[in-house]
């Protein structure tokens, strides 16, 4: 029982990190659907570097940089070129997953030595779990209690007004998108390096998409993302456990996605009632008239 909760909390970490990053990107008005691709590329980068150096911290750092680099391609297309954000995000998923599949083919089946996966732990959870939960608190503070947060939110709600008071809309959007990529890359690195300890093609298995759904569930609030991520982590961990009771693994695999649909419907109808929703300028390129 304890192990089942503990696995659930560990599975919540990558979801939480990726959705925190996406919350910042979307709060600034950029919808980056490429999370799955950035996670996948980050997962491979972290695995490869950790295998080579034996240092998981260096692996996660590389993953974050790779994720941020990929997100800049999306920022360039959607902010500077004012391209279609849905199409650019989908393209990023394909590029990220394709690259990791191509470059990762030599790593399939090689496990990481146990020693290089070990990071400090407390009460059954590793350091990164505590860092992620603390980070969601800090990101909440920044977004709702600081000037920087007001600037980010205003760029996502009404870029024209923000622009008129001297905010550099494009710079803020670039920064927030890159921050999203940073966290998505690190989230992928966590899956391959800390959680799995080996590389498999298609390692992220839709987690990036679930992280985007969590953003909606959390109503774009970093503090609320923790609950959603833990819920999904526990459900996935329950999937592993139920397999022992003779329930088909194929059916159990569909569980997180079915839950995502339910969560989307519930969260959206709640938002409709309370009239809270996405940032008003989400997905809209800014065009100074």
């Amino acid at each position: 029982m304890l192990e089942f909760v503990s696995t659930g909390l560990q599975l919540a970490v990558p979801l939480l990190l990726a959705s925190l990053g996406e919350i910042y990107a979307e709060r600034s008005g950029v919808m980056n659907l490429g999370v799955e691709g950035m996670m996948s590329a980050g997962a491979l980068a972290s695995f490869a570097i950790t295998l080579k150096t034996g240092n998981p911290a260096l692996g996660l750092l590389t993953a974050a940089i790779v994720g941020a680099a990929l997100s800049l391609a999306h920022a360039f297309i959607s902010v500077t070129l004012r391209g279609n954000q849905v199409v650019s995000g989908l393209a990023l998923v394909m590029v990220g997953c394709g690259l990791s599949s191509l470059i990762g083919r030599g790593y399939v089946g090689t496990p990481l030595p146990m020693g290089s996966r070990r990071i400090p732990a407390l009460l059954g959870q590793d350091l990164i779990f505590y860092v992620s939960v603390t980070l969601s608190g800090i990101l909440w503070l920044v977004l709702f209690r600081t000037r920087a947060g007001i600037v980010i939110r205003s760029v996502g709600e009404n870029p024209a007004v923000a622009d008129s008071v001297g905010v550099n809309v494009h710079a803020i959007r670039y920064l927030c998108t890159a921050f999203g990529g940073l966290l998505a890359g690190a989230a992928g690195g966590y899956i391959s390096t800390i959680h799995n300890g080996m590389w498999v093609d298609g390692i992220t298995a839709g987690m990036g998409w679930i992280a985007i759904a969590l953003v909606i569930f959390a109503t774009w609030d970093p503090a609320k993302a923790v609950g959603g991520a833990v819920l999904f982590g526990i459900v996935e961990s329950a999937g592993y456990s139920l397999q022992n009771f003779g329930i088909s693994q194929w059916l159990l695999n569909s569980l997180p996605y079915a839950l995502t649909i339910v969560v989307l419907v519930v969260a959206s109808s709640r938002s409709v009632k309370r009239r809270i929703g996405a940032p008003a300028a989400l997905g809209e390129p800014y065009f100074r008239e």
């Binding site: 070129l81 279609n84 849905v86 393209a91 990023l92 394709g98 088909s248 996605y257 649909i261 419907v265």
Partner: protein, 341 residues
């Protein structure tokens, strides 16, 4: 320098140039991974110039064309149906059940269209009533369908093999269907499916240019608020568009089962639903544009599969090509929509 929204609409040349640039960049990445780009180009060219290559190109063009015709309608409305792969799978599943019980391929095709259409409606309902993001809902429904499909062919639908008198549960696939669609001798091309695919590209052009639905799709794609105020129903338009799109994807799944695979195997869903997103974006709602884009990607798939085998690359590696083409074309839109002043 000031940017201004441009009136020029001729983006075909820009898209071609940017697709070509993307292929160059992708080839460079492959070269760094030890793949000779000349091999890539010769594989691509042989898909268009040899008899076997071209017939296999058409085999892949048929499902792609059906899927992307429907997606082009959705995208014109800015309704992002990303779940065509799931609608393709559910079409094949419905066709399997129908042909098992009736032995009539035509019944199987009709059931497949119906199943794909039904699966495509909930995202339209969720978006119009609750504002649920359709990218997520269509994709999540795909994932659920994918795993249910795997469950069925690994479990309840698994064929029993017979060796002499002994019957046992063999590999994870269904039994061979009792009736099939005929193919042109020496190829895997079904004339019926080729006809349906080409008609679907013409059909959606007709829908866009000659029907009320087409007018509403354009209206919601351009200015949804104005369309709503003038009395059009978002739900009705989105649901009809999705039914056409889902139905065509379902047909594609049925065609591949009835004419090519003859049974359902774990690898049956091979990504046409995702490749169709790119070809729909490239081709738009023009029949010639769609046929050209899907022939190109049919060739890319045939050449790509050859590369995968020769260099023993994982199947997912072809997404480097797919993604870069989509990304470059999305970037290139800039040149057709804005001009410097």
């Amino acid at each position: 320098m000031r940017l201004e929204r441009s009136k020029r609409r001729n983006g075909v040349l820009t898209r071609l140039i940017f697709s070509f640039l993307a292929v160059l960049v992708a080839s460079m990445i492959y070269m760094l991974q030890g793949v000779d780009p000349l091999d890539v180009f010769s594989a691509l060219i042989s898909a268009f110039t040899t008899k076997v290559g071209f017939s296999e190109l058409l085999v892949r063009m048929i499902p792609l064309l059906l899927i992307s015709s429907g997606l082009a309608l959705c995208f014109r409305m800015k309704f992002w149906n990303i779940g065509a792969e799931g609608q393709y799978i559910v079409g094949a599943m419905a066709a399997f059940l129908a042909v098992e019980s009736t032995r009539q391929p035509i019944v199987a095709l009709l059931s497949a269209f119906a199943a794909g259409a039904v699966l495509a409606v909930p995202p339209a309902l969720m978006k119009s009533r609750l504002g649920v993001n359709e990218v997520l809902s269509t994709l999540m429904i795909y994932y659920v369908v994918y795993w249910v499909f795997q469950y069925l062919i690994h479990g309840p639908w698994k064929a029993r093999e017979k060796v002499g008198e002994v019957s046992y549960g063999g590999f994870a696939h269904t039994s061979i269907i009792p009736a099939e669609l005929g193919t042109v001798p020496g190829t895997r091309i079904s004339p019926v499916m080729l006809f349906l695919a080409l008609s679907s590209a013409v059909l959606i052009y007709f829908v866009m240019e000659r029907t009320k639905l087409g007018f509403e799709i354009k209206a919601f794609g351009g200015n949804p608020k104005a369309a709503e105020i003038s009395g059009m129903s978002y739900f009705r338009t989105a649901a009809l568009t999705m039914m056409i799109s889902g139905g065509l994807a379902g047909l594609a799944g049925a065609g591949d089962l009835l004419a090519i695979q003859h049974r359902l195997i774990p690898e049956f869903p091979c990504g046409y639903g995702f490749t169709g997103i790119i070809t729909a974006w490239l081709g738009g709602t023009s029949p010639l544009g769609l046929i050209a884009a899907n022939m190109f990607f049919g060739g890319l798939l045939v050449g790509g599969e050859e590369m995968m085998i020769v260099y023993s690359l994982p199947f997912g590696a072809i997404n480097v090509f797919n993604g870069l083409i989509l990304m470059f074309v999305a970037a290139g839109e800039f040149l057709t929509r804005y001009r410097a002043r």
